[in-house]
């Protein structure tokens, strides 16, 4: 077993990909210096600044450069420091990257990975704390991955890097320095579109993403004390979504709680609810509960941010509501 972190696993996975494939290049603000979260630490030293390219504060153009580079044979990884700024690159990503294969009748491919991070909890306030992944799930042509742990980074980032499509990997700022042990032989890469059942249970299904996976596990442990067996599922990739695994679980438990950190309204939880209620209508014994942030920007004040942030307590509330 190797002790590592989410952040270090990102850096290590990128390094491995760059060693194996000369076409992998990294673009982003401060990436040659490791970045504020050290996710690209050591890359410039090993691969040089021709392949680990510091960029100016030009999110749109950088994303566009990655698209052009991907169309001409590279496999770029572009980092947008905070998902809050992905809106600056949204046109490039949505009108450029996502549609190029389609609009060209299959001639062009855009094998790029856009890495970014979201989430609150660090008092970073309204413009550095958002969870905007649901926007991306509404864009045909994009894939969306949300690793909840170093293990999932190790399993899914290599797959994202090998994918012939634009893949957005949404990391979590609160997970970067969480300690974790990984098997010595490393983690075998896994395909996108497969959920992971982290805990089995027959009373209620909890589907949670990113940081909320850990909150769900905490809630499940507490529920166990009360004799309630929760099944915890991490979809891991939002697009493609592994509905069969989720639906099979709900078919058994009859109760579902969906949890993400994003604002509830318009969040990806709504999509999961819509798909599950269709697939499992006759299995459901209670309305599906959604756990997410309230419909406000993220406040700075620590007491307010703590109240804003959904966590294990809100998941427990959700479970209670579906067990009522």
């Amino acid at each position: 077993m190797t002790e590592t972190t989410y952040s270090a696993t990102i850096a290590a996975t990128l390094a491995e990909a760059m060693r194996a494939d000369g076409r992998v290049v990294v673009f982003g603000e401060d990436v040659a210096l490791g970045g504020p979260y050290l996710t690209t630490k050591g890359l410039a030293e090993e691969f040089g600044t021709e392949r680990v390219v510091n960029t100016p504060i030009s999110e749109a153009a950088i994303c566009g450069v990655a698209i052009g580079a991907a169309q001409s044979g590279l496999r770029p990884v572009v980092e947008i420091m905070f998902i809050d700024f992905i809106d600056l690159a949204m046109d490039q990503l949505v009108n450029g990257a996502a549609k190029a294969h389609f609009m060209s009748g299959g001639q062009l491919a855009v094998p790029m990975v856009l890495r970014t991070q979201g989430g609150a909890g660090q008092r970073a306030a309204a413009q550095h704390s958002q969870s905007l992944e649901s926007w991306l799930t509404h864009v045909p042509g994009l894939k969306v991955v949300m690793p909840s742990s170093a293990r999932e980074v190790a399993a899914l980032l290599p797959t994202a890097l090998a994918d012939p499509n634009p893949v957005v990997v949404v990391e979590s700022k609160t997970l970067y320095f969480r300690r974790e042990t990984l098997p010595d032989g490393g983690v075998v890469p896994e395909p996108l579109g497969r959920a992971r059942v982290l805990r089995q249970g027959g009373d209620v299904t909890i589907v949670a993403t990113s940081r909320m996976v850990h909150e769900a596990l905490e809630a499940a442990a507490e529920l166990e004390g009360a004799g309630i067996q929760a099944e915890v599922i991490d979809p891991r990739t939002l697009v493609p979504l592994d509905l069969p695994t989720i639906a099979a679980s709900v078919a058994r438990t009859g109760r579902l709680v969906v949890a993400h950190e994003a604002v509830r309204q318009g969040g990806f939880g709504a999509e999961i609810v819509a798909q599950v209620q269709e697939a499992c209508f006759w299995d459901l014994d209670a309305p599906i509960a959604r756990v997410g942030a309230p419909f406000t920007p993220v406040p700075l004040s620590p007491v307010l941010e703590d109240a804003y942030l959904p966590g294990a307590a809100e998941i427990l509330d959700g479970v209670r509501s579906v067990l009522r």
């Binding site: 749109a60 566009g64 052009g68 590279l74 294969h101 009748g105």
Partner: protein
């Protein structure tokens, strides 16, 4: 290679003929497009480049198939000049399965990878950075290769242009930014968009070399671009080439177009890049007006063949969109 003010010194008879043929092919194609569009054979927002053919011809005829061109929403001329098959281009605009993008893309999204035409875009300025990325890739992969990106004067006010110019300068990539400055963005004249006199003025702070020329003089476009291309092929760059030109039609086929009343078509037509080349050629004894008529006739014939090809091409299979949303 002369240094004639009118640029014709860079040409010889065979080059001049190639330019003539290219311009007539674009002209004849687009003149046919207008009725095809009005009769709903051609679909989508259709932006004609009639009057601007000198730029497409002067630039694209010098490029090899493996040299890349990105274009904007006014793309047919660039595509034809870069070698895209006329029949497949028209089939694309007609939404047929024989189209170069199998009918999925249409006029603003024409792509033909086999001819290095990596594509038009419907987002003004949207693919400027793709050019930098493509050139970056060529250099890193040791393949080299020049990239040309066409854009309009309206795109120069989009933030992406400044961001891209800065990156091209910083990374010294062999990208040639070719601006077709026709003085308008949609129905609004340039004076309502900016106080920057020349688009090329924007290059100086970035230490990007630039030139502004008469884009209606195809010989001049050819001559200047030849020099620029030589530099770019040697790996130097970027360069910003501003071609002053005029479009003789509206912004798109069927637009409200009231703004056109202000313009005097007669004066415009005198600056027609085709007729200017014919006059230059006559003066130098390369070919006479007859040859131009012949080129025109051949072009119109090719267009009719393209119409026949495209009309005979079936509409795509309804399963195609789902198949092509993701690669692999």
């Amino acid at each position: 290679m002369g240094t004639d003010a009118d640029g014709a010194g860079a040409l010889d008879a065979s080059i001049a003929r190639r330019l003539l043929v290219t311009m007539w092919r674009i002209r004849a194609f687009e003149e046919r497009l207008e009725p095809l569009k009005r009769s709903s054979m051609v679909h989508g927002l259709t932006h004609l480049s009639i009057g601007q053919e000198g730029v497409a011809a002067g630039v694209c005829t010098q490029l090899a198939d493996d040299e890349t061109v990105y274009s904007n929403h006014r793309a047919d001329g660039h595509a034809l000049a870069k070698g895209v098959d006329m029949g497949r281009l028209l089939a694309e605009l007609m939404g047929r399965s024989g189209g170069c993008c199998r009918g999925l893309g249409g006029s603003m999204h024409v792509v033909d990878v086999s001819h290095g035409f990596l594509g038009a875009t419907g987002v003004v300025g949207g693919n400027l950075p793709f050019a930098v990325g493509s050139a970056f890739a060529g250099r890193l992969l040791g393949r080299g290769g020049v990239v040309v990106v066409f854009f309009g004067d309206g795109a120069a006010q989009a933030g992406i242009f400044a961001e891209t110019l800065n990156l091209a300068s910083l990374w010294e990539v062999p990208v040639v930014f070719v601006c077709e400055n026709n003085g308008f963005a949609e129905f609004t004249p340039r004076s309502a968009h900016t106080r920057v006199e020349r688009v090329s003025d924007l290059a100086a702070p970035f230490h990007v070399a630039a030139a502004t020329l008469d884009g209606n003089d195809v010989a001049e476009v050819y001559r200047v671009f030849q020099g620029v291309l030589g530099e770019a092929r040697a790996g130097r760059g970027p360069f910003l080439l501003e071609c002053l030109t005029e479009r003789l039609s509206g912004h798109y086929v069927g637009d409200p177009g009231g703004y056109r009343a202000a313009l005097e078509d007669e004066a415009w037509r005198a600056r027609d890049p085709i007729q200017r080349l014919v006059r230059q050629a006559a003066a130098r004894g390369w070919f006479d007006e007859e040859a131009s008529h012949a080129a025109e006739a051949a072009a119109r014939e090719e267009v009719e063949a393209a119409v026949a090809f495209a009309s005979a091409s079936p509409f795509p299979d309804p399963a195609l969109p789902a198949e092509l949303t993701y690669a692999g």
